[in-house]
């Protein structure tokens, strides 16, 4: 049996994810550990794409690789002085410029390649409105029924719609409860991170010098 592309892709991305996870525990600097964790998140997002969970893949990048890791980096930057490597003293090496040029060329190649490919595929056969409604109709009927082979094929095509429909119908109560949870977390974070006012800092005592 020949090895398919999918297994190769899985091997590459899973390998990178595991290596980055181990690196996260072995590197010295917390900033480097955070960057390794971002890499793991992005690899997992790619694996979610391979699992046809398109919505969650995007959420993974926006929430984890974006918001959560920025929060981590903020806290790290606040409390760890960079020490020897002063960020204000920028020393530009030749290798930096070379790496930037190589990355720019790769980015340009990817962008132009995707433009050429999309010009061949999506511009010529754009799905019409009639087709869309045809696809959407059976989803509404089968959202409660056990999933057959056909609906599973539908899931691959219409993943964000199906997940959204489920979140806002069958799982509306948990979904709304998460908003309450986020509100409580926000209030809690503000209360915890706020400097305690001097009036009630009796127990904290000596270190209340702003």
């Amino acid at each position: 049996m020949a090895i398919s592309f999918e297994i190769v892709f899985f091997g590459v991305f899973a390998g990178i994810a595991v290596i980055l996870a181990i690196m996260m525990l072995s590197v010295k600097s917390p900033v480097h550990a955070a960057l390794c964790l971002v890499g793991v998140m992005i690899m997992l997002a790619i694996l979610y794409l391979m699992l046809h969970a398109y919505f969650l893949s995007v959420v993974q990048i926006v929430v984890y690789a974006g918001a959560v890791m920025v929060l981590f980096l903020f806290v790290i930057m606040f409390f760890y002085s960079p020490g020897a490597s002063d960020p204000s003293r920028m020393s530009v090496h030749f290798t930096h410029i070379a790496g930037a040029i190589i990355l720019a060329v790769i980015l340009l190649a990817v962008i132009t390649g995707s433009f050429l490919l999309s010009g061949n595929v999506s511009l010529t056969e754009k799905p019409s409105a009639a087709q869309m409604t045809d696809i959407e109709k059976p989803i509404a009927e089968t959202s409660e029924a056990p999933l057959t082979e056909e609906t599973s094929r539908m899931i691959e095509k219409q993943n964000p719609q199906l997940v959204g429909r489920m979140l806002f119908t069958k799982y509306l109560l948990p979904f709304e409860l998460t908003s309450l949870l986020l509100l409580a977390a926000m209030v809690g974070a503000v209360v915890l991170a706020r400097r305690s006012p001097p009036a009630e800092a009796g127990s904290a005592g000596g270190d209340g010098n702003d």
């Binding site: 899973a14 996870a21 996260m24 969650l56 999933l147 979904f175 991170a193 400097r195």
Partner: protein, 102 residues
């Protein structure tokens, strides 16, 4: 269906979870412990989505979405606690945070 067996994905999730668990046990820096917890949550998410895909059960993705929300809330509160900890003791070691032990 896909060519990749489900076993591969669950093994990857188990590996990532174990690495995160080792980090929680071994590390002493609270931020690194927190990152390891995030890694463990991500591994659980991966297994949720894997089962959702292979068992044709879309609820797994809904649970994964809710899990991401809970993890985000947890990060906000946890980092606020770490900030408060750093502010009260100029210390980057979790073993120093033993105020509530007695």
């Amino acid at each position: 269906m896909t060519d990749v067996p489900m076993f591969y994905y669950t093994t990857l999730a188990a590996l990532l979870f174990s690495i995160g668990a080792v980090g929680v046990i071994v590390k002493r820096n609270p931020i690194l412990i927190f990152m390891s917890i995030e890694l463990m949550l991500n591994a659980v998410n991966l297994s949720f989505i894997t089962y959702s895909r292979y068992l044709h059960f879309l609820e797994g993705q809904v649970y994964a979405f809710l899990l991401i929300t809970v993890a985000a809330a947890e990060v906000a509160v946890g980092l606020a606690i770490i900030v408060a900890l750093f502010r009260s003791k100029r210390e980057v070691d979790v073993d120093a945070a033993s105020l509530m032990k007695e």
